[in-house]
């Protein structure tokens, strides 16, 4: 029942708001509408990319031969599928990135509020960095970052 109400409200708001995009919303930096220009730019970029892609598709000549459509392997005959498992190192790097990157995420709100938090916050962050370093040293020692072998 409540959802039905929500649905109606949704419908009303949808019609109302989208039609009525006011300058007030558009110029303020704190509302979702401050992203509106970004949407415009996205549309522009999409349009540019799409049109160019289409244009080149029709502009270029088309003389397809089977040899031409084979993957280039320095002139020797193609062997097997390219999509083989890669060295696990790359994968490990990716995973480590994910892990460390989210730790970096935590620095952002801290950095923005850093002056208000003062030394207490700094100490907490120091602890956090210590854990960060623990992980970092651990993976280093484990040889996760060794590419030489």
């Amino acid at each position: 029942m409540v959802y039905l109400q929500y649905f109606c409200a949704f419908g009303q708001c949808f019609i109302g708001k989208l039609m009525y995009t006011d300058t007030e919303f558009l110029s303020a930096t704190t509302t979702p509408f401050s992203y509106f220009p970004i949407v415009l730019q996205l549309i522009a970029a999409l349009g540019f990319v799409g049109i160019t892609m289409l244009a080149t598709h029709f502009l270029g000549p088309k003389r397809k031969t089977s040899d031409k459509l084979i993957n280039f392997e320095s002139g020797i005959e193609q062997k097997g599928n390219a999509r083989q498992p890669m060295a696990i190192k790359y994968f490990l790097t990716a995973i480590l990135f994910v892990l460390f990157d989210v730790e970096v995420i935590f620095f952002y709100p801290y950095a923005v509020n850093f002056k208000d938090l003062g030394w207490d916050g700094f100490m907490a962050m120091l602890m956090f960095v210590a854990f960060f370093l623990c992980g970092f040293i651990y993976i280093t020692k484990k040889g996760a970052l060794k590419w030489e072998d």
């Binding site: 039609m19 730019q41 080149t56 790359y90 790097t93």
Partner: protein, 347 residues
Amino acid sequence: MTLLSIDWFFIIEKVLLISVVLVLSLVVAMYSTWGERKVAAWIQDRLGPNRAGPMGLLQPLADGGKLFFKEEIIPTNANKFLFILGPSIAMMVACMTSAVIPWGDTLVIAGHPVSLQVADVNIGVLFIFGVVSMGVYGIMIGGWASNNKYSLMASVRAASQIISYELPMGLALIALLMLTGTLSLKEIVEQQRHGLWNVVYQPLGFFIFLICAFAECNRTPFDLPEAENELNGGYHLEYSSMKLGFFLFAEYINMFISSALIATMYFGGYAFPYMDSLGLNPNMVTILGFLALFLKTLFFIFFFMWVRWTIPRFRYDQLMRLGWKVLIPLALANMLITGAVILARQH
């Protein structure tokens, strides 16, 4: 008739601005190729392009036109959809980054204030981060879709490299954020306008950021993904026509945007010394500010090229070691020292 209450002026203004920015990016990118060759020639003591137009100035146009009219080849083994998606994403991302960079202060045209920033969002830095990290998808998808061993290898390398250098980049930025206390690029510039440039406070941070910017743009000495002597041209090996063009363009646009970003964040952006004490018309100041930013950006683009023709390419393990074992600890230390110093000065 609610439609009429839309602020058409605002929209037109933004559309114009966006078009200008995009065209500017493209033109700068195009002429970067020319610049690159000229700089290379200059460094290597040769002439560089000089046939098309005066000083070869029409060379980029010729190159662009050629790309448009080249045959479009999609290998049979490739995944067609992804094959097209890859360069598209790369280009899209390159075009999106410029949205939050403040190209200048506010112009006043016919009583309307016109900001020279497409969108002043309060999380500008995060936006750039978010969009830039999308770039790796373009490369990865492109490399994967080609179904070519070299391409795949290159794209995996590129992905690894880009994400690896994103960490120190983020950490370096955090030190900057501690200083500025805001994520809005506009405010960062405004702060520098009234004080010293951030590079003074953050030399190490700037240095780390710069190195990471090189890596993010796959520029030499970190251009492993397209190391032609190892990988026959890298992730865009199978590409031709404008799809190849997109990859190349994207790289140059990225270089441009990176330079602009470095200038904005560390070198005062559109601010230039004494800009508020010259006593000029505000619009004039704004235009001068834009020019200042443009000059700074051009300098960094030049710097990119200068480095390219000066420093040899890293080996992959050296690259990764530099990223993980040198830059990350350095950036962390930079962050902590910055924090401690700021707090100490506060009291």
